[in-house]
């Protein structure tokens, strides 16, 4: 079974700083990582390959340096890596991104075999949109299974797959026909450690590098800024609230009990209606004699 995993190289957003004057992201020195959600997708793909045989191809769209993330994926055990990179892709929104990736997927299918399963993470940590997976599914006409918590069963011979998908208030158990696009939920599995063999292989591996033309994209108006219906007009920092925090315990050495009593007073002074409502609804069992 040939499985493709779409990954993205993202800045480690925990370490991002915003320039205080220009409100721009200071990327310098910020390390990049594989989008953490994509690792759940990659691990799931590797498990299926280990079980059914076949190959795992990782695909990314990004600048040339995104090759680092592909090599990391190879070190985890992926068999092949494809980097789709071209200046025409700069400024792509989710619609343009899903177009480019879907064209690369088509080409991957032709070159290395049609994948019955394409994986992505549920979303990225820099964009947070969760839109690229569904976009690819639609463009490649794959059955879409998002927020998958667990793959229940795969039957390659019958071309069927069953999954548990996170929905409001519970898990939906779905059965679908492959080819499918699956976006994996966090916590679905735990990424394996790469083997020494994989690490050595990854360092030496040839990463397949495709331009827009290589991926068979003729219509460049569907790429990058030109192919993006959404336009970022303004980027700004969240405004600080005018009201300053009120410190409840200013006295040195006051006891927890005194602090707690002062806090309760302060809360109900600030929000008298809350007290009325709480008395109606909260902690009935705390009524004297209620125990």
């Amino acid at each position: 079974m040939h499985i493709v995993v779409c990954i993205k190289q993202v800045p480690d957003s925990a370490q991002i700083r915003v320039h205080p004057v220009t409100n721009t992201i200071m990327r310098q020195g910020v390390p990049t990582i594989i989008n953490p959600y994509d690792l759940f997708a990659l691990e799931e793909a590797l498990r299926l390959r280990d079980r059914f045989g076949g190959e795992v191809t990782v695909l990314t769209l990004g600048p040339p340096m995104a090759e680092d993330s592909l090599r990391k994926a190879l070190a985890f055990g992926a068999d092949r890596a494809v980097l789709l990179t071209d200046r025409f892709f700069a400024g792509s929104d989710t619609l343009a991104t899903s177009f480019a990736l879907s064209m690369a997927l088509k080409k991957i299918g032709e070159e290395f075999g049609e994948p019955p399963i394409v994986f992505t993470g549920k979303q990225t940590i820099d964009g947070d949109t969760a839109q690229v997976g569904p976009g690819i599914a639609k463009r490649r006409d794959l059955n879409q299974l998002t927020y998958v918590a667990r793959i229940v069963e795969v039957d390659p011979a019958a071309g069927e797959i069953a999954v548990e998908r996170r929905a409001e208030g519970g898990l939906q158990v779905l059965k679908s026909r492959m080819p499918v696009l699956i976006t994996m939920l966090e916590g679905a599995n735990e990424m394996r450690r790469g083997t020494l063999d994989n690490a050595l292989g990854a360092a030496r591996a040839q990463v397949v590098r495709w331009s827009a033309a290589d991926a068979g994209i003729e219509d460049l108006t569907k790429c990058g800024l030109r192919g993006s219906p959404t336009i970022v007009k303004k980027v700004f920092a969240p405004t600080a609230r005018a009201e300053k925090a009120k410190r409840v315990n200013t006295e040195e050495g006051s006891t927890a009990e005194a602090n707690a009593a002062a806090l309760v007073e302060a809360i109900f002074t600030r929000q008298p209606d809350l007290q009325t409502d709480l008395m109606r609804t909260a902690g009935n069992h705390y009524l004297p004699g209620g125990h």
Partner: protein
């Protein structure tokens, strides 16, 4: 890549200023729509929040506000339509078909896409829930239009351009996004970000029913089962009036008990920061913040939480934010309304007692 953090925002801004004249056939796109979310016969509250927000946009534009209700049961759909009217909709488009009994991407995408192509809304809003994001991505790609995810603010100009503001880079920046040359303009909004509109009982409007025109045999994805969450409090967190949350400052899983005890006395829900999920002290559904739940309680008590931006964006809608932290310079001390410098492990039990005493004393007095 995504629709938010463009590598070069300046390029996006440059392009935005070169607005093309809207193509003639796009001028037919009018009105503001909310795709209502229904699971198990009930409307998700985010749909009402969106109707409230949609009402403002529609009024500004002088157009109609419509709800879209799709489902398998005619009575449930009719009841949801009435709720839509009472929350501000002028029109409700309905599709009733057994195929739509449970959410599945394929038939729902078909249904909503058909409605859009038939009735041409200028703006289409969905909840940024798993269902809404799953559906919105497919519909926008089918229609080849712009979609902005997880907006926190929506505004509209005189020409009908939607200004959709959303957090980016984990909440450290906000960006405002337009879809100038494509229709409809689509956006998703997380639950609890917009205020719930006042309900007007008895308010009614027009129902326009539509057929799905699909046979079950055409749909390859089947729903085999639904495993409901055992812990019923999970789903309630975003809608709780009182939320008490813990962070790494609690130091041990056992001390989560202190948070739960206070939440119980207040009749509220408990949650926590992301590291607690990673440590297994709380379940993922109780994570509050950018990658967890957005909450909008009347009272939020954060014990031993530093208040990193990713946490902050999930709690900012709270009426009163209370911080308990040993570090007077923790970021949360900046945006909390009330703050106590001290050890949460000692203050939480004292606070639980103080609330219990206060509430029962006052109850006796009243």
């Amino acid at each position: 890549m995504s629709n938010a953090p463009k590598p070069a925002p300046a390029a996006g801004a440059g392009r935005a200023s070169t607005r093309k004249e809207l193509p003639e056939h796009f001028k037919a796109y009018r009105h503001v729509w909310v795709a209502m979310e229904m699971e198990h016969g009930k409307v998700h509250p985010v749909s009402f929040e969106l109707l409230g927000e949609g009402r403002k946009l529609a009024d500004k534009r002088g157009v109609e506000l419509a709800g879209v209700v799709m489902g398998g049961d005619g009575e449930e759909v009719a009841a949801a339509a009435i709720e839509a009217f009472e929350h501000g909709a002028d029109v409700v488009y309905t599709i009733v078909d057994p195929i739509l009994t449970h959410y599945r991407n394929d038939p729902y995408t078909r249904a909503l896409t058909d409605l859009v192509n038939t009735y041409k809304p200028e703006i289409l809003l969905l909840g940024a829930t798993n269902l809404g994001r799953d559906l919105a991505g497919s519909v926008a790609t089918t229609l080849l239009t712009g979609l902005t995810a997880d907006c926190t603010e929506l505004a509209i100009d005189d020409e009908g351009s939607l200004a959709a503001t959303r957090p980016t880079f984990g909440g450290s920046l906000l960006c405002t996004i337009f879809t100038l040359n494509y229709r409809p303009q689509m956006a998703t909004v997380r639950p609890r970000v917009m205020a719930m509109p006042e309900r007007e009982p008895g308010r009614r409007g027009r129902i326009v029913s539509h057929d799905l025109g699909l046979a079950e045999a055409e749909i390859v994805t089947k729903v085999l089962d639904f495993i409901a969450d055992g812990d019923s409090g999970r789903a309630a967190l975003p809608y709780a009036d009182i939320v008490v949350a813990g962070g790494l400052g609690l130091r041990s899983a056992e001390n989560m008990q202190l948070v739960k005890a206070l939440a119980a006395v207040l009749g509220g829900e408990y949650g926590g920061s992301r590291p607690l999920v990673q440590k297994g002290w709380i379940t993922a559904d109780r994570q509050i913040g950018q990658t967890g739940k957005t909450i909008r309680p009347r009272l939020y008590i954060a014990a031993g939480i530093s208040g990193a931006i990713q946490h902050r964006v999930g709690v900012e809608g709270a009426d009163t934010i209370v911080a308990i932290n040993t570090d007077p310079n923790a970021p949360i001390m900046e945006f909390a309304h009330l703050a106590i410098v001290g050890d949460a492990v000692k203050i939480l039990p004292a606070l639980t007692d103080a609330f219990a005493r206060h509430l029962s004393v006052n109850r006796l007095a009243s």
